[in-house]
Amino acid sequence: MVDALLDPFQYQFMVRALIVSVLVGAVCPLIGGYVITRNLSFMGDALAHGVMPGLALGILLGFSPLLVAVPAGIGFAVLIGFISHRTGLGEDTSIGILFAGMFALGLLILSVSDSITVDIEDILLGQVLGVSQTDVIITGGLAALVIFLLAAMHRQLVFTSFDPIGAKVVGIPVQAMDYVLLGILALVIVLSVQAVGIVLVLAMLVVPAATSYLLARRFVNIMAIGALIGVAATVTGLYLSYHFNLPSGPAMSLTAIGIFAAAALVKRRVTT
């Protein structure tokens, strides 16, 4: 048993994978608390698919995909906000248009660049066992930035999320805060894609935070307990991925959903 837990880490790639898994598991539920209380699930899923052209372009140009995906993700978030504020279309319609358009563009770029050996499955489903030294450093930097931003603007983000009108009256720039939140969401998605893949980022954004929402009452506790659940899910998923040669995204997502199911059986959140 102990061997099964420790053996993998004689390999450098497993140490790197563990670091990335812990970071992804801890950071996703922090923004996830906002995602589940502000109905941003669809937005999160769309953002994840929207970074696809950025990732593809990074691979095509030979950069670390993360470096290209970060500005792409933030640009996508701003674009959604812009379209939903400027057109008469509903927000989810605007999201749907960009979601489909960007994902299609990403697939197109990847299919054109057949000279380069890219495993499309790794992008879609995640391959945490394959992360490089550079990826680890960038992931660490992005995670630190996300935590810093969420802590620095915690009060403003909470006020805006609970009572946007009241927040505006006391002088908080509510619309700017919405963009900031989407920007942070984009950062989290980009740093998570390598571990869980584009298709399943949503699972890490929503499921640990939702589990925590059943167990904890106050918002800060939902974030903290969510982070613990997230780490439990990603690290367990990593072991499953190593021992059974599974793609890491599905392994981590299903572990998170298993924890959620257990919590949902015993707890129900008291609502109005």
Binding site: R38, V169, V170, R218, V270
Partner: protein, 267 residues
């Protein structure tokens, strides 16, 4: 309707709140037309009128949420910084009730002031003041409860505590009685009277005309313009009621098409 309405109380002192010639138009339709009135310390005022009469628009304009085409709002003789002295309790539909904010958290939000601060943490003085505010509305025992778990009346009391925490002089409450049962409404009025006696200026928008005399000292009748302003048992003359609720249907003979047209632009 350009004359200024004043309820005449405390005639000698300067009014705490002056609303002057406020006009707000949406695509040509005047939601508010030259609205002017003043209020003094210790005024508890009901802003009444039918749905769509511009009550929320007036509050939004006063709170700086809605640009005005003309007019000014003064609190303490100032316009630009008047928001520092003004607290706003939105309609309950505007709140995200899924967000798990605790009672104490919500009141603490009122302690922020308008200034942006990074990594903001409440000071000991803030915590003490929040306790005082929650005790004023008798909600301190519920301080760790979550907002979604509270009854309608309790929620309104927490928002009143948040307004108190802002140390505002003028309170704007938008439809605070909606979704609140009768007993709790009476208790809210009791709390508001206590604040009025402390010298606060309290304006509450309501479309509910029952028990106005028991609830408010003054009534501002609003139907896009100020129809009347004064003590509840004096303002409701037949002419004012017509202007508020029946003007187009009753007084203008054969005005069916006009009436309908007016309501359509009304939204």
């Amino acid at each position: 309707m350009n004359q200024s309405f004043s309820n005449g109380s405390n005639g000698a002192s300067e009014p705490r709140l002056i609303v002057e010639n406020v006009t707000v138009a949406f695509e040509g339709f005047k939601a508010l037309s030259s609205v002017s009135f003043t209020a003094h310390d210790g005024n508890l005022i009901g802003v009444v009128g039918p749905n769509g009469a511009g009550k929320s628009t007036l509050f939004n304009a006063m709170a700086g949420l809605q640009p005005m085409d003309t007019g000014r709002v003064h609190v303490n003789g100032r316009t630009a910084e008047h928001l520092d002295f003004l607290a706003y309790v939105p309609q309950r539909e505007k709140i995200n009730w899924r967000f798990p904010a605790s009672v104490e958290d919500v009141v603490m939000l009122g302690r922020s002031g308008g200034r942006w601060r990074w990594f903001q943490r409440p000071s000991a003085k803030d915590k003490e003041y929040v306790r005082y505010c929650l005790e004023r509305v008798n909600m301190w025992v519920h301080r760790t409860d979550l907002m979604p778990e509270l009854s309608g009346g309790q929620r309104q009391r927490v928002f009143i505590a948040r307004a108190l925490a802002q140390e505002a002089h003028v309170f704007l409450l938008d439809e605070s009685f909606s979704g609140v049962d009768v007993g709790a409404q009476k208790y809210l009025v009791e709390i508001l009277r206590g604040l009025r006696d402390d010298g606060k200026v309290i304006l509450m928008a309501t479309h509910d005309l029952t028990n106005l005399a028991e609830r408010f000292d003054q009534v501002l009748c609003l139907n896009h313009h100020v129809c009347a302003y004064g003590p509840p048992n004096e303002v409701f003359t037949p002419a004012v009621l017509e202007e508020l609720y029946g003007a187009h249907g009753v007084t203008v003979t054969g005005s069916g098409p006009n009436h309908r047209h007016h309501n359509e632009t009304n939204g």
